[in-house]
């Protein structure tokens, strides 16, 4: 008796919920907050950026509409293209160095088991927890030619010269190392979760068939992780494109724009050089590039899946 009563109540409740959900007012009130947030925090600023991109606004006072002038300047702006190239370099670095490493480490971790697994998982994730500013300053000190850790370690091995890690030629590589190190834990954690989600039965079957570790990794782990890899690569590319704070604090784009990235350059133009209009033009082009890259990435993965 009691049981059936409960069931009835439950049924009533779910039909009530259904009614509620089909009420347009309710739907609107549920969707509206998210929509408003999107419109005012994302869409409106983008529209404003497009508008300001057509002006010579300095950030203060009056401004004039100058049509496509900013975009024409942008086409010939060497620093912008350099910054964009650096952003892409970073993305390639992430995909080719950081992610394969992260995946291998995740696979090894999975095999460790017990306490050491938890310990190393934690250790590798630590850089992610530390604030970007701490990271930047930490590495600034590590790279310092006079009292930095790196040169002192080299000295211990008998090398007496002073390597300038953040010189015009080396800086971009040094920055890449910091960013790879910083983002490594995050990528690894996602791969690790992906590996943990693979059905152990598959491994058992492989073991019975006599597959060695390498075969298991290549034939089972890797194919089963396709979705995870897709997510990770997309995230890596996006984070490479919008890289700003670490570089801003570590090198501020210097020396002489050697480590300039698009987001940092945009900031410098809009707020340091009093070219707000131009900065907005850069941001519009930047948004388009980001969209194109994301769409392209999705297409690539779609094709593979198909």
């Amino acid at each position: 008796m009691r049981f059936s009563k409960k069931k009835v109540e439950k049924g009533e409740r779910s039909s009530e919920m259904k009614k509620l959900y089909s009420n347009k007012l309710v739907i609107t009130s549920l969707v509206l907050p998210g929509l408003l947030l999107f419109v005012f925090a994302i869409l409106a600023p983008i529209c404003l950026s497009v508008y300001y991109g057509f002006t010579d606004y300095s950030g203060m006072g009056n401004f004039n509409m100058i049509g496509l002038e900013n975009y024409k300047t942008l086409m010939h702006d060497k620093v912008f293209w350099l910054a964009l190239r650096n952003s892409l370099f970073l993305a390639v670095g992430f995909i080719c160095i950081q992610h394969p490493l992260a995946m291998i480490v995740a696979a090894v971790l999975d095999k460790l088991g017990k306490r050491s697994e938890g310990f190393f998982r934690c250790v590798y994730f630590i850089p992610n927890v530390i604030s970007v500013a701490v990271i930047a300053y930490l590495w600034k000190f590590i790279y310092n030619p006079d009292f930095g850790l790196l040169n002192n370690v080299l000295k211990a091995f008998g090398y007496t010269g002073k390597i300038n890690w953040l010189s015009q030629q080396n800086a971009i590589w040094s920055v890449l190392v910091v960013l790879i190190w910083h983002g490594f834990g995050w990528g690894m954690l996602i791969y690790y979760t992906g590996i943990k989600n693979i059905d152990p039965v598959l491994y058992e079957a492989a073991a019975i068939d006599g597959a060695n570790q390498r075969q298991t990794f290549l034939k089972i782990t890797l194919p089963m992780m396709k979705g995870v890899i897709q997510v990770n690569v997309t995230m890596a590319v996006i984070s490479a494109l919008k890289q700003m704070e670490t570089v801003y604090l570590l090198t501020a784009g210097g020396p002489n724009n050697a480590t300039q990235f698009t987001a940092n350059y945009l900031y410098q133009q809009a707020f340091k050089a009093f070219k707000y209009g131009y900065g907005n033009a850069i941001s519009v082009v930047f948004i388009i590039i980001c969209l194109v890259v994301t769409v392209a990435l999705n297409k690539i993965f779609e094709d593979r899946e198909g």
Binding site: F40, A41, A44, P45, L48, S49, S58, G59, M60, G61, N62, S131, V132, A133, V134, A136, Y137, K140, F141, Y143, N144, P145, D146, F147, K162, N164, W165, L166, S167, Q168, Q169, A171, M244, E245, Y248, L249, T251, A252, G253, G254, P255, N256, N257, A258, Y267, Q268, Q269, A270, F271, K272, A273, F274, K275, N280, S283
Partner: protein
């Protein structure tokens, strides 16, 4: 607008975290207070989109205020507005309220509030770069009443064009003992919009004890300086600490050389800025000399990526023999964070003469940079101007500044000399008294801010050899168009 807020917020966050870290690694512990101030600023920025504002509480340094001068000032009590509660907002680029210039500013504020209990002064502070960003945001949403400004085209041109600063009556300042020419940078079309706080002199600080112990002599020509660089390097010491990561100190170095070459670069630079043509042989020579210095190993390895604090630390830790910086760092001699052996031995000389150059040894790179102004849109403009004038009474900014070893003010300070000044201070006074000519605004600050940003970045490339002198001069010319 929202975009601005977002950026503004990001800068604030970066500022806060930078500060926290800086404190963590113990470079500038004295700046601890600025973290709090910056955090307050972050809150203000968050609320900034809604046009509200939060202000940082003034630091407690009342005890330090000079009671005697408070009495003196009380004789000239305010005629109007007495009893009526007034709140003044002060926006300042001096986050460190315990040392140097920031302490002086706070002392005057506390004194003023004590004198006029009806007036509350709310202080908001940010470091220079973040300050300039926020200043711009304020110019769109309404300025605080009294603000820090820079009397240089790279900052003031855009600001005056936007009309956000109130005009001041120049006749009011006849007895304020401003040094001749110090107000020039703050005028536009014959009208005065701000008052200068400092006279900045660029110098080469050196460790006298280190020089004496090693038998090194203060160089009298540029060639001697470069030769000295080699000698010092051979001794395993860094010859000169240079904050090359920021770009502007090197741009000042470039200006310093240009001044020694030309004897007066005002016209040359203003013509070049107007035409975008920097091919004059004087520019080429100045660039070459800067490059020679870098090639000769005058600066530390990696100078082009190191910041102010790192460079200064090399000098104050005794790892570098010299440090290229302005007179505002004269308070190093009083800074107890610096080991006494070094602190007591800091002396200064100016850029040595360049062979064949028109500038004499006594022609010094000096200018009037920072200062204060009143917002044109201030609801309490009269009160704000009254406070501004109070700060500039010769026995306030000038006197307190002098007593705190801040450096030279833009007003005549001779009567405040006690004879107990640090050797460094005396040297700076001597430099000014013996000066046969001063350079005026440094080259990077002579043009619009796009020019400033460009030259400060390109100069890193030309000094480290990754771009040629020609490329450098063409690039900075381009940014003027």
């Amino acid at each position: 607008m929202i975009g601005t807020c977002v950026y503004d917020f990001c800068t604030a966050i970066i500022q806060i975290t930078t500060k926290t870290v800086t404190k963590g690694v113990n470079i500038m512990k004295k700046k601890a207070l600025s973290i709090l101030l910056t955090m307050a600023m972050a809150a203000a920025t968050l609320a900034g989109c809604g046009n509200s504002s939060t202000s940082a509480q003034p630091a407690e340094s009342k005890q330090e205020a000079d009671a005697a001068s408070a009495d003196k000032a009380s004789e000239e009590k305010a005629p109007a507005a007495e009893g009526e509660a007034v709140t003044l907002k002060l926006f300042s680029n001096l986050p460190d309220r315990k040392n140097g210039q920031g302490l002086v500013e706070q002392m005057i504020i506390d004194e003023y509030m004590e004198l006029y209990p009806n007036v509350t002064i709310e202080v908001e502070t940010l470091d220079e770069e973040a300050y300039k960003t926020k200043f711009k945001a304020y110019s769109m949403e309404g300025m605080p009443d009294v603000v820090s400004i820079w009397g240089q085209p790279s900052f003031l041109d855009e600001v005056l064009e936007a009309g956000v600063l109130a005009e001041l009556n120049e006749a009011d300042y006849a007895d304020y003992k401003f040094l001749a020419g110090s107000l020039d940078g703050f005028r536009k079309d014959g009208k005065l919009y701000g008052l200068p706080r400092n006279t900045d002199i660029e110098g080469i600080y050196y460790n006298k004890k280190m020089f004496d112990d090693n038998g090194w002599k203060v160089p009298e020509t540029y060639d001697e300086l470069l030769a000295l660089a080699k000698t010092i390097n051979d001794a395993g010491i860094i010859p000169m600490a240079m904050d090359g990561g920021d770009g502007w100190p090197m741009a000042i170095y470039f200006s310093d050389l240009l001044f020694k070459i030309t004897g007066d670069y005002r016209e040359l630079v203003s013509n070049a800025l107007a035409t975008g043509d920097f091919s004059d042989p004087a520019f080429v020579q100045a660039t070459q000399l800067l490059k020679d210095a870098a090639d000769a190993g005058l600066f530390q390895t990696g100078y082009d990526s190191q910041d102010y604090g790192t460079a200064m630390n090399l000098f104050t830790n005794g790892q570098a023999a010299m440090f290229y910086m302005g007179s505002w760092e004269a308070s190093m001699a009083l800074n107890e964070d610096i080991p006494q052996e070094i602190r007591d031995n800091i002396r200064v000389f100016t850029m040595p003469v360049v062979e064949g150059g028109k500038g004499k040894a006594t022609d010094i790179e000096a200018w009037n940079g920072g200062g204060y102004a009143v917002s044109a849109g201030s609801a309490v403009k009269d009160e704000a101007i009254r406070f501004l004038n109070f700060m500039y009474q010769p026995d306030k900014l000038s006197k307190y500044g002098w007593e705190n070893g801040v450096g030279m003010s833009a007003q005549d300070q001779t009567e405040y000399m006690t004879g107990e000044e640090t050797e460094l201070q005396k040297q700076f006074v001597e430099l000014v008294n013996n000066a046969t000519n001063t350079s005026g605004t440094t080259v990077n600050d002579c043009g619009p801010s796009a020019f400033k940003t460009r030259i400060e970045s390109e100069i890193q490339g030309v000094s480290n050899g990754s771009s040629s002198i020609e490329e450098f001069l063409t690039a900075i010319g381009e940014s003027c168009k």
